[in-house]
């Protein structure tokens, strides 16, 4: 079906039409057939070679012997008490410790749940300004990385197992020979680093050996195209009425994503129809999480963003902006956005993306200056990372020096440059010319393979350290468990090179902060309590900081916006930053644009061996277990690629040629992508990762060059005629044509608040039921999900997986709709496939219907209601008829078709939540509203006599949500947040016309579109 035909079909639909995928729009018979099966793709058919007769025989025998299984004696179990029990441990109760996850140099503050020495679940640190209780995807899933059985376990030298002391003597010998020549030929390669104690160690080393050089490379963070911006902006989205993003995915990627989502969502969670919704303009080449939230979205090539920014700056009268005008087709859009920004001086903000060159950042800064936003909605600061700011330039220099034979000793501390370095640098070949190569990392990966020494790195949950969050706050990393393997952290390696081996990471970090207490460090840190008092001594300070997880007085950057004179506190570089817009724009690029993006789940491949992340559907495309190339529908049509797949299955494979290199990738037509652009995700195709990550997907680093790590022209694509099976959950569990999402315009909603109600079918009266009405006298649990706040990031799914011991099923099973996620995030598009006018996300957990259709069909009463309105699922009663799932209109029940839970890998046993049953084969499961958390709170409330407070019980999804879109509470408490949310006019239930009376309800999307740009 062609784009024109789809458009005709869309035009023929009445009312507002939402669609989930291009397949749904094209509505082919294959797709309808796919959709109408409860578990499509022969999910329930027996396809084993054993054959039907043998199967029946076995089933007959199983049935006959089923009763006997109940008579087996339970296996003997052991109880192993402590020899000396630590004082604070109460067996059966978890302890929580504050720590932080370093990623791309920045810290993500966390609270780790610890069950008798086993970290099992990570939550955001609610007191930390960079988290406020929320987490990102990697914070939720990194606990699985700790227990990854494929982590490297031993120190290896040339393929032989060695001890730490052997490494220490080898390093000391190397350093000894380098000291007389001031470290000539010694190079360090790290990721971006903000850790104060580690920086001190590095500077000590570089101070003693001035000829040594420090390089930085991280394929995702700090890799620059067109130079690094001189200053680091911090945005205050809670104060911004109008936001304009220039290829900036501030809600989806980066160190500030949690805080930015919280701040942004706070301007979307309106409580009354009169509430002011902020307005978001997004200019970007490919649909991102941020782009999907936009009120107005303009898809242009990444290389055109600079021209757009220049034209906008000129329209806004920004100082030093080159005179530029936009092409006619976007002139109206630009003029409307410019007028809107001008009308909101001091309450607007222009955001430039990290993948854009420094010139665009300078233009954004100039615009913010012109709009009077600096100091109000954005503040500019000196960059936090101490390492070289421009990773691309840094690794290019290193590679050139290695090729030239100038490097004798190279220490790679974290990272996998052999896999991730730009292809034109030929990093692997260069590396082989270095006479001593050492590598520290969690995995024995592609780089370790080419190094003389490999030292297993400690996971952040087993090491001491410190790190700064995106806002500058110093967070402390404390271990939750002693190293599982023979691991060491980077700071310990530096201590060895500085000639002080034997010092543990804890000694080094604690020593640094003890000296910081008495101002003996450079820089001198302010050491105060949160309310500005001094600590009695260094020990009190250390203990407080460890307890809180951060040093309160270093939280200066975010709060400085409120402080008077914040604008004058700009770093010295600001004058040059202001002059920068006059710089020449990036060299003109021609031809089809190729865009490089990190995979949203595995980034540059560092999380490739994490099953939770692999199985999590990626935003928008909902692809799992693979990387694909995104193109727009028009581009697809131009190249003769079908824009909708047949059924839900195979994808065309295209060959992408760029600078004489070719890669073959399955193609994915993503609505909203700019035309004549091909988007390539890197991070897949790992050659040496682990049992999960090795060999899946396609390695696209081979195309990425140091000249253009993010975007370039001159790409070509060609349909190969091959097909490849890509699994996407986008079409799974569809609720066809029933307006599951509702979106209204802010102005219309203000005029007529009842408009949301009118968008759905009428709900039958409460009296319409055959069953006696049940009075919920005690608690009455309910949930409200604000679709206007939800960004569709999928953190809720990851949190649910971690909390509820949800199994990973693998690509083949996902393809059969057998993914076990209790919560899914549906994405709906509105409008033309080439440029959707709206993209909406809807998290769908079990709706906990009061008149649940699943309960009445269960022949063994394995799913029944409890007195608090929860739809209980009793695993030990379930016999696996799947009638319940068949009768569920929301399609939220998941069945263990096979034995998905891993009962055998010892490492994973330690990760599991002891409060939730691990489900076996043949059992149905679903969202329980985290009943284990409800039970704990209820028991504690009964013990203490204190009633359960609103907000005391948080479901895992609610706790993790960076946008606070999910709220859980007691519907019998008139003061609870959830009751107040459900009283809003934009509250509606999903498929309420079926009389299911869902306890989970949704708050409709309220968009604040610019009347000038609104399409009629």
């Amino acid at each position: 079906m062609t784009l024109a035909e789809i458009r005709t079909r869309l035009a023929g639909l009445e009312g507002r039409a939402y669609w989930r995928s291009l397949e749904e729009l094209s509505d082919t018979p294959e797709f309808r057939d796919y959709l109408h099966r409860e578990f499509p793709a022969q999910a329930s058919e027996f396809t084993d070679p054993a054959g039907r007769r043998q199967f029946l025989k076995l089933m007959g025998a199983s049935l006959a012997l089923a009763g006997v299984s109940a008579c087996t004696r339970q296996p003997e179990e052991k109880i192993i008490p402590y020899v000396r029990q630590p004082e604070e441990i109460v067996p059966g109760r978890p302890l929580f410790y504050a720590t932080a996850m370093p990623l791309g140099g920045f810290g993500y503050p966390l609270l780790a749940e610890n069950h008798m020495g086993r970290p099992t679940k990570l939550e955001g640190n609610p007191e930390h300004p960079a988290s406020l209780g929320g987490t990102d995807l990697f914070g939720q899933t990194s606990v699985l990385g700790l227990y990854d059985p494929d982590r490297s376990r031993t120190i290896v030298n040339d393929g032989e197992v060695r001890t730490w002391s052997a490494f220490v003597s080898a390093m000391q010998a190397a350093m000894l020979s380098r000291r007389p020549i001031k470290g000539q030929g010694l190079r360090l390669l790290t990721g971006p680093i903000t850790s104060p104690s580690l920086i001190e160690q590095i500077q000590k080393l570089l101070g003693s050996m001035p000829e040594a050089k420090w390089h930085q490379w991280d394929a995702v963070f700090g890799a620059r195209q067109g130079g690094a911006p001189a200053t680091m902006p911090l945005y205050h989205f809670d104060k911004a009425d109008v936001v304009l993003a220039l290829d900036a995915d501030f809600l989806g990627c980066g160190a500030g994503v949690v805080r930015y989502s919280k701040d942004f969502a706070s301007r979307r969670r309106i409580t009354t129809p009169e509430g002011q919704v902020n307005r978001l303009y997004v200019v970007e080449p490919v649909t991102t999480i941020t782009g999907a939230k936009a009120d107005h979205r303009l898809a242009i090539k990444a290389r055109d963003v600079h021209a757009f920014a220049a034209a906008l700056a000129s329209a806004l009268g920004a100082a030093g902006a080159p005179a530029a005008s936009a092409p006619a087709e976007i002139a109206q859009w630009l003029a409307a956005a410019a007028a809107d920004l001008k009308a909101n001086r001091g309450r607007s903000v222009v955001v430039a993306g990290d993948t854009q060159p420094a010139a665009v950042h300078a233009l954004a800064r100039a615009m913010n200056d012109a709009l009077g936003n600096v100091g109000a909605t954005v503040t500019y600061h000196a960059p936090l990372a101490a390492s070289p700011a421009d990773g691309t330039a840094s690794i290019s220099e290193l590679a050139a020096d290695m090729h030239a034979g100038k490097v004798d000793v190279l220490l790679i501390l974290g990272g996998n440059p052999v896999f991730t370095a730009p292809a034109d640098l030929k990093f692997a070949d260069a590396l082989k010319k270095v006479s001593l190569r050492a590598h520290l990392d969690l995995y024995f990966d592609e780089t370790a393979d080419l190094c003389h020494w490999h030292i297993p790195e400690t996971h952040f949950l087993e090491s001491w350290g410190d790190v700064r969050s995106f806002d500058g706050t110093v967070s402390l990393i404390q271990p939750l468990v002693s190293p599982l393997y023979d691991g060491h952290s980077a700071i310990e390696v530096f201590a060895v090179m500085n000639g002080t081996p034997g010092q543990t990471a804890m000694d080094l970090v604690r020593d640094y902060w003890t000296r910081a207490f008495s101002s003996q460090t450079t820089p001198a840190w302010p050491v105060r309590t949160a309310d500005g008092k001094t600590y009695a001594n260094a020990d009190t300070f250390w203990r407080h900081a460890l307890h809180d997880g951060f040093i309160a007085s270093t939280t200066t950057l975010m709060s400085s916006a409120n402080a008077p004179g914040a604008t004058s506190a700009q770093p010295a570089g600001s004058a040059s930053a202001r002059a920068a817009p006059a710089q020449a724009p990036a060299p003109t690029m021609t031809g089809m644009e190729i865009l490089f993006r990190p995979d949203p789940n595995v980034l540059d491949g560092r999380f490739a061996n994490n099953g939770w992340l692999q199985e999590l559907p990626k935003p928008l495309s909902k692809v799992a277990w693979d990387n694909v190339a995104y193109i727009s529908p028009k581009t697809a049509e131009f190249h003769g690629i079908p824009i909708a797949r047949s059924g839900n299955r195979s994808n065309d494979v295209i060959e992408i040629s760029y600078q004489g290199r070719q890669v073959r990738l399955p193609v994915w037509v993503l609505p909203g992508t700019a035309d004549d652009v091909v988007v390539v995700h890197f991070g897949y195709g790992r050659r040496r990762s682990g049992r999960i990550g090795t060999g899946i997907g396609v390695d696209t680093f081979g195309l990425r060059s140091s000249k253009a790590p993010w975007f370039d022209g001159g790409a070509e694509i060609r349909r190969t005629g091959d097909t490849y099976l890509v699994t996407s959950t986008q079409n799974h569990f569809a609720m066809e044509g029933r307006n599951p999402v509702r979106a209204v315009d802010a102005a219309e909603y203000r005029k007529d608040p009842k408009i949301v109600e009118g968008l759905g079918h009428e709900a039958p009266p409460k009296t319409l039921t055959l069953y006696p009405v049940y009075e919920y006298n005690n608690h009455k649990w309910g949930m409200s999900i604000d679709l206007n706040a939800c960004t569709g990031c999928g953190v809720c799914i990851a949190a649910c997986v971690a909390e509820n011991n949800i199994a990973v099923v693998g690509k083949e099973q996902v393809d059969r709709n057998r993914e076990m996620h209790w919560l899914r995030v549906d994405t709906y598009y509105e409008g033309d496939p080439a440029a959707p006018s709206g993209i909406y996300h809807q998290p769908v957990p079990c709706q906990q219907c009061e008149t649940a259709p699943c309960e009445v069909v269960c022949p063994v009463a394995a799913t029944v209601h409890n007195d608090e309105g929860l739809n209980d699922m009793v695993y030990n009663r379930c016999v696996g008829t799947r009638y319940c799932s068949n009768n569920c209109p929301y399609k939220v029940r998941r069945f263990n078709f096979l034995l998905y839970s891993d009962y055998t890998t010892p490492e994973f046993m330690a990760q599991r939540n002891p409060d939730v049953t691990i489900r076996s084969r043949g059992v149905m499961e679903k969202c329980t509203y985290c009943v284990q958390r409800i039970s704990h709170a209820r028991i504690d409330s009964k013990t203490s006599g204190e009633p359960i407070k609103d907000g005391q019980i948080k479901t895992a999804c609610e706790q993790a949500c960076p946008a606070d879109a999910i709220v859980f509470g007691d519907l019998n408490d008139p003061q609870s947040r959830v009751v107040k949310l459900k009283q809003q006019e934009r509250n509606y239930g999903l498929l309420e016309d079926l009389n299911t009376r869902p306890r989970t309800s949704y708050l409709a999307v309220v968009r604040n579109q610019n009347p000038e740009l609104k399409k009629t």
């Binding site: 004696r73 109880i79 000396r84 109460v90 067996p91 109760r93 007195d867 929860l870 049953t917 039970s935």
Partner: protein, 232 residues
Amino acid sequence: MSQIFPRSANALARASLASVLGLILVGGWIVFTLMRSSWVTKQHEFVEQPVQFSHAHHVGGVGLDCRYCHTSVEKSSFAGIPPTKTGMNCHSQLWTNAAILEPVRASFRNDTPLSWTRVHDLPDFVYFNHQIHVRQGVGCATCHGNVDKMPLMYQAQPLLMEWCLDCHRAPEKYLRPREQVFNMAYQPPRGDTPVEFGGERYTSQQALGLALKKEYNISGIAHMTSCSVCHR
């Protein structure tokens, strides 16, 4: 044509029908009984332990409170098994050379924990919580029996779900005042031995149980028999 079967065959047919029915009933009865038998439930079974610890001596004889060893019974789902250190509190002074205590000393010396075998073992899909039971007036002896009279520990009750539900449906049958929970010698009220609670003397368990249920704010049958109270 003459009949193949004589008239007497009818009786045989009836008998075989009856015996099939009988077999099903007997089979059912066997499964039913077997499931409740102590062979399956492990009720009254002694368990080999690394140290043959006597509750009769420590509780009945010495008079230790349950909570001296089972420290977390009031604050956690798990009552807690004492660390080796708890044993050594006394046995570094008393019976310091007793052969029976050698595993305890060895554990303390070598810093290797003792490995006990669970006596009361619920299936893993049952989430029993000691804290709330102790708090709501369920005595230790109600489920664990009179451990003060057990030289070796055994499971006093069947721990079947029907046994749990017996109390969850009507807790008044078993409740006792909170201050009597750890009292091994406590006797439910009878005509001649009344129990005092809240300034009143109760002579029947039913009356006392109902008073306690009200005072302790114990949930009704709808909540107490909800699946997710124990299973999740």
